[in-house]
Symmetry: C2
Subunit: 220 residues, 2 copies
């Protein structure tokens, strides 16, 4: 709705006419700050996340941080944007089977492997998503994040040539939503209980998603 009001602060800088990050050196620094913010967030959580810690974690002076970002808020939203952009790089294990049910199983297992390697990152991402949802004018970012995931995984449910089909694309997206629901729930529960009985949860999720997929295909 009134989205543009704040979205401007997401990219540009406060300096009229100037554009921090336009030069090569500048954009490298900008990227380092974003990376530092993510690291600090992963280690300490939202509540302890201060601009000073971010600067330290990025190896940058506090003032430099404010040269690249209007304020803390726009930096945090930039971190979330960055996570979205890097998503496809993280999960590059594309399933090779042509059977959609096998693809779903491979996909979920691959996601879960990645999630386990990057526990803190996953929690950080959830914290950032909630932060965006509570930040007036940034709710759309959270939605975009989810849609990006749904899109990405939805495509991978079927083999590339099948994915062109409109109906299969629709089904793929629906399946992706269910996969993401399960993964998010698993992340929270596994993180809280700290047990590895989560592997049973993963297998159950695979089965459930396959059943769901089969049902959607039958009804189409």
């Amino acid at each position: 709705m009134n989205e543009p009001r704040r979205s401007s602060s997401l990219h540009g800088g406060p300096h009229p006419g100037k554009t921090p990050g336009a030069t090569r050196k500048g954009s490298e620094t900008r990227a380092r700050i974003i990376k530092g913010a993510l690291e600090a967030l992963e280690n300490g959580g939202m509540e302890a996340l201060t601009t000073r810690k971010i600067a330290a974690s990025a190896g940058v002076r506090l003032a430099t941080l404010h040269y690249y970002f209007d304020n803390k808020e726009s930096l945090l939203l930039a971190v979330l944007e960055d996570l979205i952009a890097d998503m496809d790089l993280a999960y590059r294990e594309i399933p090779h089977s042509s059977n959609p049910e096998e693809r779903v199983a491979a996909l979920i297992r691959s996601m879960w492997r990645y999630v386990q390697r990057t526990r803190n990152k996953q929690i950080a991402q959830i914290e950032l998503t909630i932060y965006a949802l509570r930040t007036q004018g940034a709710e759309w970012l959270a939605a975009r994040q989810y849609n990006a995931y749904i899109d990405f995984y939805g495509r991978l449910v079927f083999s590339p040539d099948e994915a062109e089909n409109a109906e299969k694309s629709r089904i793929g997206r629906a399946v992706a939503r269910q996969m993401l629901i399960g993964i998010d729930g698993l992340i929270l529960q596994n993180y809280a209980l700290r047990d590895d009985a989560a592997s049973e949860g993963v297998e159950a999720l695979i089965l459930a998603t396959q059943v769901y997929l089969r049902r959607l295909l039958a009804n189409s």
Copy 2:
């Protein structure tokens, strides 16, 4: 493990020999502060949650808050404890069917109705859980919260007489875990996408849980 180190600060006060909240009036105030903290958290989120806002939201002076709680941390953990204690009061729609699969369906629908009525509370609870997990010495609280839910729902999967059976109790708990995974994931996705296509997700979750339950019963 080293759980007792901080758990003491969860209940008592800092005043040696004294016990804030021992009198009737005192415990009412304590409860009001906890309620105010939850309200403030639901409205503004973790990042904006200050002791001042909590005090205002509770209709209490800032100093009064510190009379009842050692510090902000112990207050926040007390809020999470309170949420656990109130859980059974919130979901009092006990399914009446004797068929476990029907009970699961009724349970999930009832949970989801409640979740929809209390969106912000659910997000607040997730934020608190993550907070506890990041707070040294309070991780056990997050685990206890999950276990309380698993216990509570696990019991409701079978009718009261069946629930005594050890094997059914085990199965009930496993099913409850899967239900919670789905609900948590649904909360996040529904909150982020703000669509009501979540109802499809709920139906899919019911089906998946029923399939899972059936499989566990067959293998037992």
